[in-house]
């Protein structure tokens, strides 16, 4: 066995440039696989975390009849006396914060321009909403008792050319099915770096939103953040009641999860293309090696080396190439992924995608499982690619091989 490795290692050294180029092909492929996998995983992980932080929380408590798609404001569809429910939730040890939100569909207009938006009434003091306070880039955050101020996202401010202090008209549905409109003052402009969210969401204090929508002392939902995401299921099970529906982040981010699965399947095709190209390079290298060493194969065969062992010799060479290539690829891919995940990979604003909160930067992320499965895949593909040349060598007739020039 050691002789096999020694021979394979020295044989690779006979044409160093070719061996290095082949190992490099495997390295580049592994690097690409690692980086692509980490970008895709990072993208969806980021989108999911954005979804949880901004929109869904880990859990939501809603009235039993609330339908998210209808954004109903009818009282029977809302959580009554949200302060009381919130206090009960906050008393749970697993809960970091629980805060009521009132959500209404609206139209923001200024002059001839108008745009559909989601108006969210929030408690400006709640810890879960500090993410919006931190995102304020102009003006100031909302105060709980502000009756005229709104916080709008940067894309919306850009679209309407709004500055702090400008007044805009907001029209919303109310709890009794009518519509109401009012002029509001832009108090602040925020960004969460999630374009589709910032473009669509207008905040106002929940007390004002309740008054505006005729939904006093009601909330669309209680937004709950937990200390540990993994505790979602047990907490949801503990909260189960006939008066409320408890919805988890998995339910609320179903689209992200499905999209990730779709993207995963699409990536497999890309992986196979990359690995296919690599396999061709490896096959080519070893076929050339077999033809160059035909006479040596004849000699080894003449002194009693069986086809199986000749095949093993070439597979060992491929395994060494694969090892060098994969290790190089893991190091290079790991370094690139680590660097890009520290600075972020800028992507154009994902304006066309709704329901998935892609940020303006992707922070690649890779799991040990990804690394292991990609390493094994690259290794196995390299070995499969070397099967043909190895079999070619093993099947050579000694007489013909000995007479090769």
């Amino acid at each position: 066995m050691s002789q096999l490795f020694k021979m394979a290692f020295r044989d690779l050294g006979r044409n160093k440039r070719r061996s290095i180029l082949s190992a490099l092909a495997v390295s580049i492929a592994t690097t690409l696989l690692i980086f692509m996998a980490s970008v895709v995983r990072g993208e969806f992980r980021g989108a999911l975390q954005n979804g949880i932080r901004l929109q869904t929380g880990h859990l939501q408590v809603r009235a039993a009849s609330y339908d998210e798609n209808k954004v109903s404001l009818a009282w029977e569809d809302l959580v009554e006396n949200p302060a009381q429910v919130t206090d009960q939730l906050k008393a749970l040890p697993q809960v970091v914060d629980a805060t009521p939100r009132l959500i209404a569909s609206g139209i923001l207009s200024l002059g001839d321009n108008s745009r559909g938006v989601q108006v969210i009434g929030i408690d400006p003091a709640a810890e879960a909403n500090q993410i919006f306070r931190q995102g304020v880039i102009a003006g100031e955050f909302l105060a709980g008792d502000d009756r005229e101020g709104v916080l709008i996202g940067k894309p919306l401010a850009d679209k309407f050319a709004l500055n702090i202090g400008d007044r805009v008209n907001l029209l919303i549905n109310t709890s009794n099915g009518d519509v109401d409109e009012q002029l509001f003052t832009v108090r602040g402009i925020y960004t969460t770096n999630v374009f589709p969210y910032d473009e669509n969401t207008v905040f106002m204090p929940i007390a004002k939103a309740q008054a505006f929508a005729s939904a006093e002392n009601h909330a669309s939902l209680i937004f709950v953040l937990l200390k540990d995401q993994e505790q979602t299921e047990p907490v949801a099970a503990a909260l189960k009641s006939s008066n409320y529906q408890i919805v988890t982040w998995q339910d609320l981010n179903e689209l992200s999860v499905q999209f990730e699965q779709f993207a995963g399947a699409y990536m497999v095709i890309l992986y196979l293309i990359i690995l296919g190209i690599t396999a061709t390079v490896v096959t080519n290298t070893l076929v050339m090696a077999v033809y160059e060493r035909t006479r040596e194969i004849g000699i080894l065969s003449a002194i009693g080396m069986k086809g199986r062992r000749i095949m093993a010799a070439f597979l060992t060479e491929a395994a060494l190439l694969a090892t060098g290539g994969v290790v190089g690829g893991l190091v290079l891919g790991g370094l690139i992924t680590a660097w890009v995940s520290s600075v972020g990979l800028a992507i154009p604003a994902a304006q066309g995608v709704t329901g998935i909160l892609l940020g303006d930067k992707i922070y690649p992320y890779i799991t040990a499982q990804d690394v292991i499965s990609l390493t094994i895949t690259a290794y196995v593909i390299t070995l499969i690619a070397s099967l043909y040349p190895a079999m070619l060598a093993a099947r050579m007739e000694p007489v013909e091989a000995l007479h090769a020039q």
């Binding site: 006479r295 065969s301 002194i303 007739e397």
Partner: protein
């Protein structure tokens, strides 16, 4: 005792539409301890006959016996097994593996037949000494002269203690002095160890060493004569 026996062997090659009859019914028996030369002009069938005896090729018809086994009934792997235990080869070109040292080249057939490490080491050193190359054991083929490389090939052929060593034009690529050295060594080994040698050649100086000369022409044995050999 008979080492190998060829009975009415023919070997045809077809290249495109043309068929060549390399051997046309050859009968030959080689006894233990012989130092036999197969001679004849190019294309007479020397190398083909040597390849049949060496189980590197199969006859189109007829039989080849090695150690009493009918080799024509054996499959590829069984022939390889029989080769690695019974037959040593020396080729016209210095058929060494260029990435292995002289020592490792000689060791290779011992590795293939499963000789234990300690025994292997002892045997490799013995045969390298026998061909006068102990001091070149760790040189690669490209660091050795043609004559030295062919002596390593002799040592490799000898390593497994074969019953017969087959040599195809062993001196063809050597100058007179190196050719003489290789033939002297082969003859000495034949006398000292009793190993049988069969070699194909058309070099008259080499033929002089043989104690049996088998002449081939157009795929047939035309003469088979015994002599005392040189020295």
């Amino acid at each position: 005792m008979e080492v190998t026996k060829v009975i009415n062997a023919t070997r045809d090659f077809k290249i495109g539409e043309m068929e060549t009859h390399a051997l046309r019914g050859v009968n030959l028996s080689i006894e233990d301890g012989e130092f036999t030369a197969l001679v004849g002009p190019s294309g007479s069938g020397k190398t083909t006959l040597l390849q049949l005896i060496g189980l590197l090729d199969q006859p189109t018809s007829g039989q080849v016996y090695i150690n009493g086994n009918d080799a024509t009934r054996l499959n590829r792997n069984q022939r390889a097994d029989l080769r690695k235990g019974t037959i040593g080869f020396i080729f016209q070109f210095f058929a060494l593996i260029p990435t292995l040292t002289a020592y490792e080249n000689v060791e290779m057939p011992l590795l293939l037949n499963g000789t234990k490490p300690a025994e292997r080491k002892k045997r490799v050193n013995e045969v390298l000494e026998a061909v006068g190359l102990s001091d070149r054991a760790h040189h690669r083929p490209d660091q050795l002269s043609g004559g030295q490389q062919q002596r390593v090939a002799v040592a490799r052929a000898l390593a497994i203690n074969p019953r017969v060593i087959l040599a195809d034009e062993p001196t063809a690529n050597l100058d007179t002095e190196n050719g003489k050295q290789v033939m002297d060594i082969m003859q000495r080994l034949n006398k000292e160890t009793g190993v049988t040698f069969v070699f194909a050649t058309h070099d008259p100086r080499v033929i002089d060493y043989a104690n049996r000369v088998v002449t081939l022409q157009d795929g047939l044995i035309t003469n088979d004569s015994k002599s005392n050999g040189k020295h």
